[in-house]
């Protein structure tokens, strides 16, 4: 352990330190905690604010890391993909925190430290996953990422639907972990090594056991990113958990899953990777179809966004199915666009849910007349998710399709393009409630200040990327090109 090693691990060490600090704050606070009333309000504060500042600091620290360096004989890398993913995790966690700091329920006050500790721990797991190039490390990272997520899903345990959803998420999650381990055992058996860099050489001959192992691994990862047919947990989980958390849950763990897929199936694999094109293409197609069709009958905005999120995973898989540098780049761009659009939408859901006590899409009736700016923000997010020009989602879809067209996958692109129309149908149903239907109550929806900040951040992201996507494209292309050099 030289000093240089430590500088490479700065983001992870910072997160670890942050986790310890938050835990300590919780310990101090809970012993000092005397009861309800004003003190409850105060005790809500320190852990959350500390976490927020810590995340900001860690985000800045990621820029001090020397890009492209590796540790432990290449088992842990800080390449541009890892750093890109880490910044995405941190930024999305910060946006989610801005939303959850405004939650007024008792549990968030009493057990604030617990919640934020779980968040930071999960983030640490994601960071490890993003950097791991060794199977065991990868698995440990996955577990560290997932277990706090189960906990956070079940955080409001006294509400009726929450334990069921948390249990479902937990069972599916552990099953997927088991599949990942099972798949890894095959891979290790054939390759004789747990290093990712040792997998491609035997892959060239395509031994059946190795392929089987990789296929099982892909299924396990499919659970993590909620791709068809492993998507069932998403709607129930999203419906039960608090919106700011769901906003993060719908983005960060999936990004982590995608990073692993890229590392396992594409990077450094060469032309042998093309074996997976049909598999990923079929997964992409089925995921888009299922997500979009299942979203249509939803009357609960969180379930609707859950299914639409599944559909978006399908679109990202389209970019991945191209198995090319531009395909990966476009998928990463899509991920960023989806992050802003989806998180923004969930934050608006949070604002409306706090005011209306309802997650039904009927709660959005006449929102344009009650709170024009909030409605406009939601409209922008929905249009971005729907892929309409001048907001981020349009470029995301366009680029993903472009990457697929370059590979000649016209069928998949047609399917995706037609399904965007289906998606616009259910997004427009929400827009219709906001803009065309008359409001049931005249008074505006109250948006807490911090939540407003988070929403504005997402709007800036969505519109900024929509009007000037070039820097993001360049960034994504640079990240992807380092994987294929």
């Amino acid at each position: 352990m030289t000093f240089e090693t430590l500088t490479l691990l700065v983001p992870e060490l910072a997160l670890f330190a942050l986790a310890v600090v938050v835990l300590l704050i919780g310990a101090v606070r809970s012993s000092a905690y005397v009861g309800r009333g004003p003190l409850a309000e105060v005790s809500r504060g320190p852990a959350g604010w500390t976490t927020l500042l810590g995340l900001g600091a860690t985000f800045i620290l990621t820029f001090t890391v020397r890009e492209g360096a590796s540790l432990l004989d290449g088992a842990f890398v800080q390449d541009s993909l890892a750093l890109f993913a880490k910044r995405l995790f941190l930024a999305s966690a910060a946006i989610s925190l801005l939303g959850s700091l405004t939650l007024r329920t008792g549990a968030f006050s009493r057990r604030s430290a617990e919640y934020h500790f779980a968040l930071v721990a999960s983030l640490l797991g994601m960071s490890v996953v993003a950097s791991a190039r060794e199977l065991v490390l990868l698995f440990v990272g996955f577990e560290l990422m997932s277990i706090p997520l189960f906990l956070m899903t079940g955080f409001l345990k006294r509400e009726a639907v929450v334990p069921e959803a948390a249990l479902k998420f937990f069972l599916v999650g552990t099953a997927s972990s088991a599949m990942i381990v099972y798949g890894m055992s095959f891979v290790y058996g054939v390759a004789g090594s747990t290093m990712l860099s040792d997998i491609p050489p035997p892959l060239r001959d395509g031994p059946p056991l190795l392929m089987l192992g990789m296929a099982i691994l892909l299924a396990g990862l499919g659970f993590k990113i909620a791709a068809f047919p492993f998507h069932m947990w998403a709607p129930d989980t999203y419906e039960a958990a608090s919106p700011p958390f769901v906003a993060w849950l719908s983005v960060a763990p999936k990004a982590a899953g995608f990073v692993v897929i890229i590392r396992l199936y594409l990077a450094g694999v060469g032309t042998a990777a093309l074996v997976w094109t049909p598999v990923i293409a079929v997964l992409a197609g089925m995921t888009m179809v299922t997500g979009n069709l299942m979203a249509i009958p939803q009357r609960n905005i969180k379930r609707l966004l859950a299914y639409s999120g599944i559909a978006h995973i399908g679109y990202m898989l389209v970019g991945l199915a191209a198995l090319s540098s531009s395909g990966v780049a476009m998928m990463l761009f899509y991920l960023v666009a989806y992050t802003f659009g989806n998180m923004g939408a969930f934050l608006v859901v949070q604002a409306v849910a706090q005011s209306e006590q309802s997650d039904g899409i009927d709660a959005y009736r006449g929102l344009a007349q009650r709170s024009p700016l909030l409605a406009l923000a939601m409209l922008l997010f929905l249009l971005s998710l729907g892929g309409i020009p001048f907001v981020a989602g349009f470029w995301a879809k366009l680029y993903v399709f472009w990457a697929a067209v370059e590979r000649g996958m016209y069928g998949l692109v047609f399917l995706g393009a037609v399904l965007t129309v289906v998606a616009l149908y259910y997004y427009l149903l929400v827009a219709r409630r906001m803009y065309i239907d008359a409001p049931e109550r005249p008074e505006p929806v109250q948006v807490p200040g911090l939540l407003g900040v988070a929403i504005v951040a997402c709007v800036i992201g969505v519109v900024g990327m929509g009007l000037y996507p070039a820097p993001w494209v360049t960034l994504a292309q640079r990240v992807a090109s380092t994987l294929f050099s």
Binding site: P389, W402, A417, T420
Partner: protein, 511 residues
């Protein structure tokens, strides 16, 4: 810049006035309207000027403006007009200028209404003048999306009761309501745009991901197999907007539910956008496929003509009659283009113009009648001619043009198209076309006779109805004038159009 960017002024003037309306005209309805008049007026003057000074001898694309938007992808803002697009831009200007006056009496949320309408018009101009396929697609989306809110908020729900064996299913989707119509129209058109996007991407990748420029793509000779399916994608994509059968059903529902100015603009101009797309992008870039698929385009055009006319005859709602007549007339446009003859193609473009003006006039009139009589039921209204002679006269002139009476623009267009059909490879196309013209005269005269020229109705609701007033006269006057002007002197339009269709045909059939 050595000269005025006249095309950009034309395109963006409505957008600028929309911004002014949104930011400075809150709760000042009159300022909203006059700003709209100013914005569209600037566009009107610009488009007349472009049309007038267009150099017919030099022909080709003129008034070119270009600057690069995304150099790495070869996307640039490239605007230029040839004879066809100059005429289409003129049509857009006339319709929207009249449309601003026709919707003068909009009461509810008029600020947003005018702003959205003007944004939409910017999209329409953009599609007509841009030569970069990517930017064209962006403008196309701008022209389509505001429609959802325009119909959803300001539209009217019709009295259509779902019938037939699927009546129960239609009842559940809310057929006839404005929400249903808005959603149907938007989804159909976005469905089309999905096809267009895939086609554009395919061509872009076929150039080696270099350029979206129409002028450069035109120089390429794409692989026949690629041409074939991309043409079909463009035909379906743009064709949906042009109302090709059997993908036309959004049009009657949408146009019947839309507020007056939106119906005018949509039936008058946006459907032309679809036909223009098929001719400009489909036939212009994929000549081999255009020739191969001409039989399909022409045959479906024939079905449109007859099917639309028969459907129009069966309607009892005045707005639906006009909407279905649009479906029928757009068939003439597509048929003319498919003949691949000079006359047919000129007739097709001229029909786009003539039908645009005509249907704009019709929808303006229907809007006026509805506003005065609060009814669209044809067989309840009767004898309005004595109370509103101005509206009655304008309706009759429009109707006569619709059925192709000489000395109106409709005659010139249909005559040229029929001539083209007879000299094309598929002579039998002439018969459905002529049958369609006959059916048109049946339903138009029947409607005009019933509503305006019959005995006066005894219904107490239909007494002492007013004629058109003030700004409404401006709308009617402009449209009737243009309709007759281009009927008497068609060469005003045919001249520039011919300079554009000639080279297109040479590329298509090598003459």
């Amino acid at each position: 810049m050595d000269r005025l960017p006249i095309l950009s002024i034309m395109t963006w003037a409505p957008f600028a006035s929309a911004l002014v309306i949104m930011f400075f005209a809150r709760r000042r309805p009159l300022l909203v309207r006059w700003t709209s008049v100013a914005g569209t007026g600037v566009s009107l003057v610009a488009s007349i000027w472009v049309y007038w000074t267009y150099d017919r001898v030099r022909a080709g694309f003129q008034f070119q403006e270009e600057f690069s938007l995304v150099p790495s992808l070869g996307i640039s803002y490239l605007a230029a007009v040839d004879g066809i697009s100059a005429l289409m831009a003129l049509l857009t200007s006339i319709i929207i200028f009249a449309g601003v006056f026709a919707s003068w009496t909009t009461k509810q949320r008029s600020q947003e209404f005018y702003a959205l309408l003007l944004v939409l018009v910017t999209g329409v101009y953009g599609v007509f003048v841009t030569l970069d396929l990517f930017v064209l697609f962006l403008f196309y989306e701008i022209a389509v999306l505001p429609m959802y809110l325009l119909i959803g908020i300001w539209g009217s729900s019709g009295d259509v009761r779902p019938q037939g064996i699927f009546g129960w299913a239609m009842g559940r989707t809310g057929v006839g309501t404005k929400e249903y119509a808005a959603m149907k129209l938007t989804l159909y058109l976005l469905f089309g745009s999905a096809f267009i996007l895939v086609g554009v991407l395919a061509l872009f990748v076929a150039t080696g991901s270099r350029t979206f420029s129409f002028l450069e793509l035109q120089q390429m000779r794409f692989d026949p197999a690629l041409q074939s399916w991309v043409f079909l994608a463009f035909y379906v994509g743009f064709g949906i907007l042009a109302g090709i059968w059997p993908l036309h059903t959004w049009s009657p529902d949408g146009h019947a539910s839309a507020p007056t100015a939106v119906s005018m603009l949509h039936a008058g101009v946006l459907m032309k956008l679809g036909a223009y797309g098929v001719v400009r992008v489909g036939m212009g870039l994929l000549p081999d496929a255009a020739v191969d698929w001409a039989w399909l385009v022409g045959t479906i055009g024939c079905i449109n003509i007859v099917y639309g006319a028969l459907s129009a005859m069966a309607q009892t709602d005045l707005k639906y009659v006009i909407a279905y007549s649009s479906v029928s007339h757009m068939g003439v446009v597509m048929l003319g283009a498919a003949t691949l003859t000079p006359n047919g193609l000129n007739g097709s473009v001229f029909q786009m113009f003539a039908h645009g003006i005509m249907t704009g006039l019709f929808f303006a009139l229907v809007g006026l009648v509805y506003e005065k009589a609060h009814s669209r039921e044809i067989f309840k209204m009767s004898g309005f001619g004595t109370m509103m002679p101005g509206i009655a006269t304008a309706f009759t002139i429009g109707g006569l043009s619709s059925l192709g009476l000489p000395a109106t623009a409709g005659f010139v267009a249909e005559f040229l198209t029929f001539l083209g059909a007879w000299t094309s490879d598929y002579r039998w196309w002439l018969f459905p076309a002529v049958i369609g013209a006959f059916l048109t005269s049946v339903y138009v005269l029947r409607v005009a006779g019933q509503i305006f020229w019959g005995p006066k109705s005894a219904d107490p609701h239909f007494q002492d109805l007013a004629d058109a007033q003030g700004p409404e006269w401006a709308a009617l006057g402009i449209l009737v004038f243009v309709l007759v002007l281009f009927g008497v002197a068609p060469s005003i339009a045919i001249g520039p159009v011919d300079t554009a269709t000639g080279p297109l045909l040479r590329r298509l059939i090598g003459q």
